[in-house]
Amino acid sequence: MTILELRNLTKVFGGRVRAVDDVSLTIEAGATFGLLGESGSGKSTLARLIPRLIEPTSGEIFFEGKPLQNLRERDLRPVREQIQIVFQNPFSSLNPRMTVRELIGEPLYIHKRASGAALDEQVREMMRLVGLNPEHTNRFPHEFSGGQRQRIGIARAIILRPKLLILDEPTSALDVSVQAQVLNLLIDLQRTLHLTYLLITHDLSVVRYMCDDVALMYLGSIVEQGTVQRIFRQPAHPYTQALLRDIPSTDPDQRMLESVSLEADIVSAPWNGQGCRFSPRCPVAQIGECKTVEPALVEVTTGQRAACHLVKPHLVTP
């Protein structure tokens, strides 16, 4: 069953910057969908467009088949109970003036689900569930470590029992050993609470570990999409290939620095708005079309689509 569908979603900032450009994707209930991209790819904007924390410029959002784009703020509130976000930075995403009890209990209070002792009890139960000491309800966020704060953020997001959880770089501010704990917690919670995850990250190894499907964003648009297995085994798009090459492996015998990589970066090699958006940095031979025609996202093999002129379906072995 499809839980979330985006059709041609676009967000233009200030009339010029196409932060999210014609993005369409479908997420199945119970799955973990990874959205990969570097800074400036528009992945965080996309996260905020879904519950309409930012208003889309055009396009459609369907949550469990219901269109969201025309709902009024008041009618949106019950939907927002179902879609929650865990933010990247555990230091800025929690109000420093609120205690843990207030932070985790606030959603219940706002939606009038519980109050008083019942609320306290639910907060404590939630803290136990995410691995926090329920004795610490009166503490403030700054008394916790980064990993613990992210647990508070998760508790706050799941206390309303949402169906879809958007995880915006949930572990990128954390140390690896803490990251492992938080990722495993997310996996456990998904199993027990039957959650669907949209995991937004720049870390390919996190996607590989956590996700069923993945979409790669580059300058606001999806350049490759498919199952994690296919994309990591046989990346089709030159951008995906370069990214996979550039993760520094912990195996010293796998030499990454000797291989060729991407030239420049998004800022120093800007896209002029014509042709393929990756063409200014693309390392492979460029045909004329790359500079003039924007490639469409086409099926390469079953379960894998890419937007590149150089990728022809018959060139990829299934």
Partner: protein, 347 residues
């Protein structure tokens, strides 16, 4: 590389405390670390393990107070940095040490052009050789020096891979991307032809593709100019790809150090093993990631014995009370853990 290893930095038994409201935090607990000339040493550890304090103690960039050095020596080119002060300290820093910080956004002053900042950095380094005092920028001879400094700045920018450096040098930092700013900072750090380059998480704020470019640049520079690098990072992958030696820190101690290949292929300390297992890799199935259980101890009241013992699966009663000594497992591979005492005798 191995036979004529000449130490550039020798940190011996360094104890450091931070005085805070909550008490005295025992930040460094007897750190021993040697950096040989020509080394590319990766100092790895998680937030709060003391890796930045250790590294920044070499140029003495750790503010005092709150920091307090209670014991130990930090020998740089054979001289103890802990006893240096004032002008002498400034001279050593200017002539022999270059530092690159984590955040390329705040490392450059937004109101000056790249030229102004680089020329200043280069001249400051020269001035430490012949101090001209207050009027330095005004004298005609100094105008000539400024021109030369500009030439040198352009040369350096070209070297670190800034395209069209003659034009770009007039730009302001905000006109540069994060990767380019980090290149500029590296150019500034090596402008004084330092013996030691300290890079504190130089690629943490960057995208992977840009990170790869910067790492490649550092590797090239080390090969070209006579440079020794101390790279501070929490990313073991970066060390594996770039460094010839690695030192792993945990809660104020170097728990394991040695040649990168040896340490990463056969980690001896339970913490190093845990760290490596915590990184999601290709062959780990969902939910199977192990990681390191528990959390970092408070350094206000650290465990009396091995600081890792409370989180260690192999800890014995002895680990909880006695501080482990450092054992050489092979000629260069050292580990601070009682589990390997037997190996030490045979080695």
């Amino acid at each position: 590389m191995t036979q004529s290893a000449q130490p550039l930095v020798e940190i011996r038994d360094l104890f450091t405390e931070m005085v805070t409201f909550d008490g005295v935090s025992k930040v460094l607990n007897g750190v021993n670390l040697t950096i040989n000339k020509g080394d590319l040493l990766g100092l790895v550890g998680e937030t709060g393990c003391g890796k930045s304090v250790t590294a920044m103690t070499i140029p003495r960039l750790v503010p005092q107070p709150p920091a307090r050095y209670t014991r130990g020596q930090v020998l740089f080119r054979g001289e103890d940095m802990l006893t240096k002060q004032g002008e002498e300290l400034r001279q050593t820093r200017a002539q022999h040490i270059g530092v690159v910080f984590q955040d390329p956004m705040t490392g450059l002053n937004p109101v000056f052009t790249i030229e102004q900042q680089m020329v200043d950095a280069i001249l400051t380094r020269q001035q430490s050789l012949h101090a001209t005092g207050f009027f330095r920028g005004w004298l005609p001879s100094n105008r000539e020096r400024r021109r030369q400094a500009r030439e040198r700045a352009i040369q350096l920018l070209r070297r670190v891979g800034i395209p069209e450096p003659e034009k770009r040098i007039n730009a302001y930092p905000h006109q540069f991307s994060g990767g380019m700013r980090q290149r500029v900072l590296i150019a500034m750090a090596i402008s004084g032809r330092p013996d030691l380059l300290i890079a504190d998480e130089p690629t943490t704020a960057l995208d992977v593709s840009v990170q790869a470019q910067i790492l490649r640049l550092i590797a090239e520079l080390v090969r070209e100019i006579d440079l020794t690098v101390l790279l501070i990072t929490h990313n073991i992958g970066v060390v594996a790809q770039l460094c010839n030696r690695i030192a792993v820190m945990y809660a104020g101690n170097v728990v394991e150090s040695g040649p990168t290949r040896e340490v990463l292929n056969a980690p001896k300390h339970p913490y190093t093993q845990g760290l490596l297992q915590a990184i999601p890799s290709e062959d780990i199935a969902r939910g199977e990631l192990v990681g390191v259980a528990g959390s970092v101890p408070s350094l206000l009241t650290p465990p009396p014995g091995c600081r890792f013992a409370p989180r260690c699966a192999h800890a014995t009663d002895r680990c909880l009370t006695a501080f482990p000594r450092t054992i050489a497992v092979t000629s260069q591979h050292e580990v601070a853990c009682v589990l390997h005492e037997a190996e030490a005798k045979t080695a």
